[in-house]
Subunit: 356 residues, 4 copies
């Protein structure tokens, strides 16, 4: 009963097989291997973006920070939701890579920026000329940190505001596959057709060992990206082991199948929890994470049974609040089974409703 994070999962067999296959003989280093050329073509085709440039790095933080550094100068600010990974979970990597830019927090329900709040925030930035930081870029996380999903129309609404202010748009797609299968749209519809300039296409959380693709729909900043990647220590010499993994991930729709399984598990879990008396959802379950509150007794039982998950917000404790229910985050991954879900539901269910 492992629901702590999708980053505790192993990789599917296809990824291991791809590594084994990539391990024959010598290969050109630094992305010059033949497999990278193929992968680039595949991503261009998949995104209907023949001009796009594609780079691989090993962590989502590197992908986001490098991308933002190409979009936002040091004296500007990135508009993002207060719950965005770039704000909360990267120890200031965007500030480091941009050379000291700011992040401006734009509220909105369920970890999605509200367009009106974005418009206000941009307007406020412009008030004092040289004296305050300038508007820099927009960062949209999809799927969000609350397990919700922006539709292409919702992305386009935010990107349209960005465009009106001549600002570029970054998408943190650490869980892009989960968002895509939830929204039921094409990769192009979710990104450049909706106004996204740079996508960080996650692989790690959805089944790779540590590979993310950065897709620059406008190749004008490609060389700058390459220099920043090298300078950040993120250019792999034995790059073939990155391209092999990402190639296997995208081949035959594996990435979407993995995301479908994770999302389906979360959906089953969400339905099961909301069926319990005294339970509520904190956010709609749209991707692979469930945010819910249920009776304290059920948490006690889950803990006794060894279930792994975080109380959420993280500064809660099981005994520290007066409420009868306690809220938590449960994350499913590609390898979460129906049995895992049902076992967990059975664990928290029966005794719920009365604390002990």
């Amino acid at each position: 009963m492992q629901f702590a994070s999708d980053n505790t999962s192993p990789v599917p067999p296809q990824v291991l097989e791809a590594l084994i296959e990539a391990n024959h003989g010598y290969a050109m280093p630094y992305g010059a291997e033949a497999a990278m050329t193929d992968l680039r073509d595949d991503i261009r085709n998949m995104f209907e973006a023949p001009e796009a440039q594609v780079y691989l790095v090993a962590t989502g933080t590197a992908a986001n920070a490098l991308a933002l550094a190409c979009l936002c100068p040091p004296w500007a600010t990135v508009y993002c939701h207060p719950n965005a990974h770039v704000e909360e979970d990267e120890c200031g990597a965007p500030e480091f890579y941009t050379g000291g830019a700011k992040l401006t927090l734009v509220e909105g329900p369920h970890a999605k920026m509200d367009p009106a709040a974005l418009e206000r925030a941009i307007g406020f930035t412009a008030r004092a000329g040289v004296h305050n930081v300038q508007a820099g870029a927009i960062s949209i996380t999809n799927a969000t940190e609350a397990g919700t999903v922006y539709t292409p129309d919702e992305v386009a609404a935010l990107a349209g505001i960005a465009r009106a202010h001549d600002l570029p748009v970054h998408m943190d797609g650490a869980r892009f596959a989960n968002a895509l299968v939830a929204a039921g749209c094409s990769p192009a519809e979710m990104t450049w057709k909706a106004g996204v300039d740079v996508l960080c296409l996650g692989g790690t959380k959805n089944g790779l060992m540590g590979v993310e693709a950065v897709v620059l729909f406008d190749p004008a900043r490609a060389w700058e990206f390459e220099l920043r990647r090298k300078r950040g220590g993120h250019l792999f010499s034995k790059h073939r082991y990155l391209s092999a993994q990402m190639g296997a991930y995208l081949r035959d729709g594996l990435w979407l199948k993995l995301a479908e399984r994770a999302n389906a598990a979360a959906s089953r879990l969400s339905r099961g929890i909301t069926a319990l008396p005294g339970s509520t959802l904190l956010h709609p379950t749209q991707a692979n994470a469930v945010f819910a509150a249920w009776p304290r007794a059920g948490h006690r039982q889950a803990q006794a049974a060894g279930a792994q998950y975080y109380l959420w917000p993280m500064d809660q404790t099981l005994d520290g609040l007066g409420h009868e229910t306690v809220s938590a985050r449960l994350v499913c991954s590609w390898c979460t089974t129906e049995e895992d879900v049902d076992h967990f539901l059975a664990t928290i269910g029966p005794a719920s409703g009365h604390d002990r």
Copy 2:
């Protein structure tokens, strides 16, 4: 009728005289002039801080950013009010000088941080170990950007929270003299006795051409400060012209007299405005700035008469809102006269109450 900012004022004659006097013959450069030694001693005496180190720079932004860089590492955050100069008016200088630290905004009425909000903000920072930025330093602006003043007890309350979390305390004292005469306390009581580690003691807004003193009550970081100052391009070769100005400013209590005049003018202005029908104060008038709303007609008359001041917040326009009153910021300086104030009050007064 100049109320746009205290930075539009000239300098008092004592400052010019000090420059003329300092201009004789050769002098050692880079702060090695004799006048700097004297000034350092004066400041140590005045602050009852014999160990303090004292450095001069030419702008408040430089003083604040250099001080914060010595207190807060790149991977940490500075807690300050959303209206703080370091957040709103320095184009990201703290982020630049710290190497990419963040600012965490702590709310509170009248531009003063609320201690409970500070405690919560620090607690929230600590939630996720290496994954988010660390707690770095506290920055208190006194007098505030809203023309209010922290008492020594209020400073001590915030600094006590800082101390409990092992965080250093910075005071942005661009209008320190105004705060001091308002609070009626000694320099030491307002600073290190209340828990302040570094004070940026402003001179520019209160009568100098461009000189601020940075007072490090703990000299441990003095050499680092010197290196950061040089590296930031803020070490003057002909430093004598800085020490001469600051020396004249502090001599015979000139700085306090200048601040008393500015505060008295603001007080008179505040009383006059609140006596007008339909007027209200946005913030208590405690230092040299008045934030008030009065009828639109009075603004029209003031503008016609050439009065200089900013509508506040700055994104307002005189005609853009439906209200009958419009709010503004009026800043007095050491050279604002009673006649200036009374003339302004007469201008906005008579026709007020009905818009035209």
Copy 3:
């Protein structure tokens, strides 16, 4: 006949097997997996350094830059050889991670810093107080970029100078295993016993997909390192795939066996080339790289036969110089065979001596 770089090689089967084994079930992320604890203990034992802290990253550039950032403040300089990887091949990563420190180049034959030159360079730095950058750290590359090896005594000579000036010592050990087997000493003798404070222990060039260990012999800066690693985007969530590789690498002396094979191949190659008429070595062959000049005709034959290697220095061309011989770099790896070497020697050999 692949001699372009050791980074074109595949990984040995033990590494793949370790990945397969690590792929079972869930694992704690971010280095909290059990295998990392074991690995840390192994490295402590191997280096006779029970207090050392150990961190994994994926590239040598990241390892070096993060380590140097912990040792050298932004206003200081790192002393290194002009041919050091940190100077020539990291696109300014040390400058980026330190926040703008300098590198001061210290000459010496065969890519090894001359102690007298180091002493002079440090002395020169100290000349002007706050006006120039300060002495920061020493960086020693072992094995060097010229395929030579510092003995423990040579390391100690440089580190002793550092110590006398209170400067910390970094060792870039991207080819540490090659240096170790060449010098025939223990890991401790080559590092902390000789005065090294931080070792970047390379795995990638010698048989891993992309894993380097940073060993901090003094753990005082460990938490800073962790924050810098996270902030640089170098903390892997699925960290188990790094620890698994490094664990396999160090187990049963595999790393030393791989290095012995590479060094032996280079030695055979070096002997073979120097036996050719008209050939000379540019640097003594002490590790896994050969720097030699041989007749142009031999290069022509090698190229025709598809041999891969770089002319060295890299700004040479085969036809651009008037000399009869042309110099090149040939790098052997763990998978270079005696047959590869002999085949190459046969290719360049017979027709040598007369250009065509």
Copy 4:
């Protein structure tokens, strides 16, 4: 007998008078004062550059570092002479402001870069694609740190190489006036007509309290410069006291007259020293500094008489070397008189030739 530096001098009366005049009434802050508009026009006229943008800062280090940051991205390098102020005397300010760029040192006699060496250095930078830092900008100091002067043709030779590699050219003109009167050319001939993109036009060393003008001949980067200046803490609120000084400096050719006096004093001093038996010049005396060696006894006499100057190189001591002569740097300023020079010459002269 003050020859330590031109920064020990006072300012001429015209500068004080300009400050007194500027001190009447209120003035718009931050460079919006009327005097700045006039000054900008004057500089445009003087340089025959109607499109140029002009900004004022208070130190030469700030001027250089801000200018270079606009010309050179973080992943590139600035080509300069090893004796350049940006390399030796700014504590890494260029590295700080650029966000971690490098400086590449280009040798040449008498502190002037050799064009062939520059060409080689640029060629070397290009060798390894993404793996090393990129070519960024050229920085030429005129007059140099050795008291020599580049002619417009010599500037054009270096700038032509820069242009051929698509690199911008910065001129550090901390002693620009001294260079100009020495070369006998127009401001335009020495700068943009010779290929200079940005000039840092010094005022401080030649008679101001602390004002330097940055002249951007191409205004494309003007807004970026303004943001960097603000963010660096170098935008003065009471900017009128900068523009007043620089206005007085340029009015009626005062700056050139001051430089002529300094250069003439140095020339007299140089002739006098070289007439002494056993004396030699280290560099030709072309501006306001003399680098010469003369007998140790003469130094002893000068010191006994209280003369101020630096032994040069600075790591020398009067007794530390075995030579009979000791070398020194003597800097003249606008207020050095013929009497000062003759008195000094008399002091070092008579007893020279035999050490005591």
